[in-house]
Amino acid sequence: MSNPAIELEHVCFKIGVFEMSDFSLSISQGEYFVLTGPNGSGKTLLIKLIAGLYRPLAGRVRLSGRDVTPTPPWNRNIGYVPQDGLLFRNRTVRGNIRFAMEVRRITSKRIEQSVDRVAQLLKIAHLLDRSVNGLSGGECQKTALARALVFEPRVLLLDEPVSAIDEDSRDGLCHDLRRIQRALGIAVLHVSHNRREIDLVADRIGILECGRIARVDARESPGANPPSEAAGESRE
């Protein structure tokens, strides 16, 4: 049996008044796991902990079986999309997507191939040479997603990636997320508050309350029958 893609083992963590003790969670390779729960329950902190932006006081964090607890974020090979995208304003869409490849000192030819491939996958090839300042919310998030996927991470961490965009674009992006996750076979940890968004993407749902997983629900066929598609709306 293969190692879980993300594994937290008896993790203890404290920041300010927030505390998480003896926290364990396991997400399989190729699984789409959605974490939900009330504000302040520790969802974003958990994502940052896995990304290496915070360190646990005790316990282990493993990615694809490798203990990454002491590993800095740049050596974890994870893709991370924050809530508001946080695109680099001094770069174009292409420049943002290229970033992860540039810092890995990959040849220009290979960078361009990877950028084109991920832009096709997310249907943003027409935006590549645009400044990020004029992008819509959905385009921003797709660019942020492309930037996080271009170096082929094994794990994708999404912190409310569609919360700041309108409902129609949100549905479309959720379908895109699920399609890409299946195509790449990567594990996704997605933080969300939105019930519909969860229905569209989740394989399993974890409900986080005060730093503890209160319940985990498995779903049989996520996004199999999204209501708007059932009503005959076109997505493209």
Partner: protein
């Protein structure tokens, strides 16, 4: 169809508030014009033919540029640390940084002179070169210019770091950028306008610095004379025309720097 005009209420309210602005602008324009109207072509050509004045202009440009460069080199890491970290003594460090801004420049010059009269200061000044490195030397000009200019540069550059959400750096690190790569590819790249503004503010302050330069480096013709001290020297020996020409040159150089700054991206940050 023409676009709808923006609703405007209280026209007299705006006009009343605009009066102080117009008055102040007139005052500045009047003062600048006064210098240009007071100088004659003969005084300009006499000043331009004087080698000592050219030496002063050259030394002014070299020392101002060098001390601005040093100020920015120190202000970037200092501004970053003060912006991103809270440490023991942070408030004290922050207050100390404001000291060269609020302290009268002459007092700052006296402090420098006093320092070089102590054991450590004397060794630093005379330990390597017998005639001294700083006191009555061009390096002394750079030192006092740096002390004053660096505080301004740190203030402006730190405000740039304050305005940049640290989350951008976090995202860069998750994308594979190490600490140094994140710093120069994301942090510095996004704070570049603030760095440029810091350099210009620092240069503007340094370029006109007079009191502490006079105290520490004196004003020796062809050796430690810079443009502000030339004005002092010339008017003290009754050559008011030459002093006015140098003043007008300083205005032109300062204006050229501001225009260059606005042209190359500084607009919108502090102007």
């Amino acid at each position: 169809m023409p676009s709808s005009p923006r609703a405007s209420y209280g026209k007299w309210f705006d006009i009343l508030l605009a009066i102080p602005l117009a008055g102040y602008l007139l005052l500045i324009a009047g003062l600048v014009c006064a210098i240009f109207l007071a100088i004659t072509p003969g005084e300009v050509s006499a000043a331009l033919a004087d080698h000592d004045i050219w030496d002063a202009i050259l030394l002014s440009m070299i020392t101002s540029t060098l001390s601005t460069f040093l100020s920015v080199v120190v202000a970037i890491p200092a501004g970053y640390i003060l912006s991103r970290h809270r440490f023991w003594g942070h408030s004290l460090a922050d207050t100390l940084l404001d000291l060269p801004i609020v302290l009268p420049p002459l007092v700052m010059g006296l402090c420098v002179l006093l320092f070089f009269s102590t054991g450590v200061g004397y060794w630093l000044d005379r330990g390597i070169v017998e005639e001294g490195l700083f006191i009555y030397q061009p390096l002394g000009i750079v030192l006092v210019q740096f002390i004053v200019g660096c505080a301004f540069a740190v203030r402006v550059i730190k405000s740039g770091f304050d305005a940049l959400d640290p989350s951008y750096e976090e995202v860069a690190m998750t994308l594979g950028a190490g600490r140094w790569q994140t710093f120069y590819k994301v942090t510095l790249a996004n704070v570049a306008p603030a760095i440029l503004a810091g350099a210009v503010i620092s240069w503007a302050r340094i370029f006109g610095l007079f009191g502490p330069v006079l105290l520490v480096a004196g004003t020796m013709r062809g050796r430690t004379e810079i443009m502000p001290t030339t004005i002092y020297l010339e008017q003290s020996i009754g050559h008011l025309g030459v002093a006015l020409v140098i003043g007008a040159m300083m205005i032109v150089i300062s204006m050229a720097m501001l225009i260059l700054f606005k042209r190359f991206g500084g607009k919108g940050l502090i102007w």
